[in-house]
């Protein structure tokens, strides 16, 4: 069941994104930035947490989940460390993925030639 919910919710977010790209002058980059900010703000308002509880990866995997993870990290580190958490928290949850992205992107760039 949770797979079906993840499929439907994740698919719906992407379909709305496609609708925005096709019907407005919004570019891919604008859409991604907008979704990240939306996720971060919704998480701060306490709305994203219950949504992710319901939709699982359908809420986490779209880039909104990345934004929400930034805010979530800040809030939890703020509690643990005090004001420093407001800054270090940005990478509390996302840092693993970001560093992995940098490492593997570099490896592939060194090993493989671009296509086309």
């Amino acid at each position: 069941m949770e797979y079906i919910i993840a499929f439907l919710v994740g698919g719906a977010i992407c379909a709305i994104g496609q609708l925005i790209i096709d019907t407005t002058k919004c570019s891919n980059a604008h859409l991604l930035v907008g979704l990240v900010c939306l996720g971060a703000v919704l998480s701060g308002l306490g709305v994203y947490e219950p949504f992710q509880e319901f939709a699982g990866a359908g809420a986490l995997v779209p880039v909104m989940g990345f934004g929400s993870s930034i805010t979530k990290g800040m809030l939890s580190e703020l509690e643990r460390l005090g004001w420093e958490g407001l800054f270090t928290g940005a990478f509390e949850i996302t840092g693993l993925g970001l560093a992995a992205g940098i490492v593997f992107s570099s490896i592939w760039a060194l090993l493989r030639k671009p296509h086309k």
Partner: protein, 146 residues
């Protein structure tokens, strides 16, 4: 003819974009990627201690999958069909990093690969952190004042 008039003429005469088809493809591809994410999340929930750790691991694994599919040219084909369905999931974020790193590698390791890797991922990180910072700050200040 004014530029605006020309634009209007072009818009009227160009073939209508297959909106419904694009949206359905985005739905299908995006949904599929999120379903794979759910498999990873379920495994990570078992192996990690906290929910935050499970989220972190899931994001990282999806990013890893994104970089691999990009390196072997699979993701570009997926993006051609899926559009936003391939761009919006975190794998699309990884795709922008890897494809930029691979493409600009020939401009040098430092200023090519190193600098241009974040040409699209950079704004996402910058504005994600800025909006997260602002909303967290406001939340803390309100809680302190009340």
């Amino acid at each position: 003819m004014k530029p605006q008039e020309y634009q209007k003429l072009v818009q009227e005469n160009s073939a209508p974009r297959p909106l419904l088809k694009n949206v359905l493809w985005a739905f299908f591809v995006g949904g599929l990627i999120c379903t794979i994410g759910q498999v990873v999340l379920n495994i990570a929930t078992k192996t990690e201690n906290t929910k935050a750790e499970a989220s972190a691991v899931t994001l990282a694994v999806m990013i890893l999958i994104g970089t691999i599919l990009t390196a072997f040219g699979v993701y570009d084909e997926l993006a051609e069909k899926g559009g936003a369905g391939a761009a919006v999931p975190i794998t699309g974020f990884a795709n922008t990093m890897t494809s930029a790193a691979m493409e600009f590698r020939r401009e040098g390791i430092l200023l090519g690969m190193g600098a241009k890797m974040f040409v699209i991922a950079g704004p996402v990180i910058v504005f994600g952190i800025l909006s997260g910072f602002i909303v967290t700050l406001i939340k803390v200040l309100i809680l302190k004042l009340l």
